[in-house]
């Protein structure tokens, strides 16, 4: 038996170690290299936020001029930049609020109701898909065409209209994914116990779908605060943060841009790590 098995076991073993080397060494090394590639520019950004400037113009230069933490003390010294940052925050908050409410309502409608009771469900799904897949430059350009045609002045209002438009689909999709496993028996129980629809919604439905709604809201906030293409078409007099930074590339970038970038990155990554830790604790 052992003699017969001998020749056949030697080859699989050899290939098994080869295989192990592949998954134990080559793939992880490669993956860590990709992660390094993804993280590297962020390190460069943080690095340059400590770079001294030369001359009277306070603009970042490609060359390294020495370490300074000056820009962190003077983070608000560029008036246009600070104003655009707060504008972006306000814009993201308002459009996230609206998009989350509307998107959640649409998600509930799409999960609960089917064609005989909800005609047009299919059309809604097509529009959501199209909205997610359509090139942003076309959406931005066509919105500009709309506002120009109807003589609507561009500013905060048009930005909110646009940001809600491209956030709704993402909120709907995110909330719907979480709603899929929803047990409607819980709502029926509430009705049987005499709860009104309003009470059932606020006391039973909403708490249950809250994680999905929050995830959708986070997504909407992230998309809104990072949006450049559409905002660039519609900003007019009120300039959001990415549009301001893009405009600054023509004349030179004040180092405070990298300070803001570093701050946004730190806050965002902090939240993400916190949520991972919390999820692990729960599990």
């Amino acid at each position: 038996m052992t003699l017969l098995a001998q020749p056949s076991t030697s080859t699989p073993e050899a290939s098994a170690t080869k295989r192990r080397r592949w998954t134990k060494f080559v793939l992880p090394t490669y993956s860590w290299l990709v992660i390094a590639y993804l993280v590297f520019p962020i390190i460069v950004m943080i690095f340059y936020s400590f770079n001294k400037t030369i001359g009277s113009m306070q603009l970042v230069s490609f060359s390294w001029n020495g370490f300074t933490s000056q820009w962190y003390h003077q983070w608000s010294n560029v008036p246009g930049l600070t104003a655009s940052f707060w504008l972006s925050i306000r814009l993201a908050l308002v459009s996230t609020l609206i998009a989350t409410v509307l998107g959640t309502m649409l998600a509930i409608a799409l999960v609960r109701y089917r064609p005989p009771r909800f005609r047009g469900k299919g059309a809604f799904e097509q529009v959501i898909f199209l909205n997610i897949a359509a090139p942003e430059i076309v959406m931005g350009a066509s919105l500009l065409g709309l506002f120009v045609t109807f003589n609507i002045g561009r500013g905060f209002l048009t930005l909110v209209l646009a940001h809600v438009m491209f956030s709704i689909a993402y909120v709907t999709v995110t909330v719907r994914a979480r709603l899929a496993g929803f047990d409607t028996a819980l709502e029926e129980a509430a009705y049987d116990l005499g709860a009104t629809p309003a009470v059932t919604f606020t006391r039973v439905t909403l708490p249950l779908i809250m994680p999905g709604v929050l995830a959708g809201a986070l997504m909407a906030f992230a998309i809104s605060i990072d949006d450049f293409v559409t905002s660039n078409f519609l900003s007019g007099t009120s300039v959001p943060f990415p549009v301001w930074v893009y405009g600054a590339t023509r004349v030179g970038i004040p180092p405070q841009v990298f300070v803001f970038g570093t701050a946004i990155f730190t806050v965002g990554i902090g939240f993400a790590i916190l949520s991972i830790v919390l999820a692990r604790k729960k599990a």
Partner: protein
Amino acid sequence: MEQLVPPDHPGGVAPRRKRRVGRALAPYLLSLPSGLWLLLLFLVPLLLMLSLSLKTCSPSTGACVMAWHWGEFSSEVSLYHQEFITSLYFAAAATIVDLIISFPIAYWIAFYGGRRKNFFLLMLLVPFFVSFVIRTIVWEFVLANNGVVLGALKHIHLLPQGFHILGTSYAVMAGLAYNYLPFTALPLYVALERIDRRVLEAAYDLYATKRVGFMKVIMPLTVPGIFAAFLLTFIPMFGDYVNQEILGGTSNTMIGTVIQNQFLVTLDYAGGASLSAILLVVALLGIFLYARLLGSRTIEQYL
């Protein structure tokens, strides 16, 4: 059930009917606000843009008159076909680079990520925590002639002094590839993660080698994810102009740059609208092909 319950008190009938009407309307009431928003600010503008592309606009006042000017399309195409080709080439090349870079890492996280899966996924998403425009500017610093990378490599004489990459097509493609990598990696990860491990085990039980298992089980099951990754990466890259404007030179203009200039600088709305319409048609071809092959709802799994 309801018929068995007699309407004991007269007031009981009206509220119930009211509620029934409310229930019948519920799906429509819930979807109406989003529906109106998307209709008025997404679909109507797209149609308006198509009509705008057939109008002639006076360059001085910006007023547009419907002229059924179909020639606009052919003249714009003959003027800017090079920019379209450049965009197609850059977007296709950068998408393929992204697919090649991200497949192995997506595979590794999905199959060998273990308990640290979430951490690795966060690492894949890490570029998104820096604003898109800033990310692109930082690439300018990475690729700059005397910046941290090229400057250091030139200092130790690994690169000739005259070497430069900023302002070339390679810089644009590198920027595109970096900026959109998570859009490629995540759908691939989702597709690989969803593969039922028992199918793979069944293949091994039937004496499939690792290689055959990979080629005949894993790859076919990943194809929808590859399509989704391609769609979600290629279309935004195709219309992108930030990378080209910041990292590229004057000779490799992409179509997005032209559209943006026509709308915001030269105020040639008709020209910009017809170029956007062509861009939309190209994107729609991909979108419809995807919806036909895989169904429009499948895209949601990969977001």
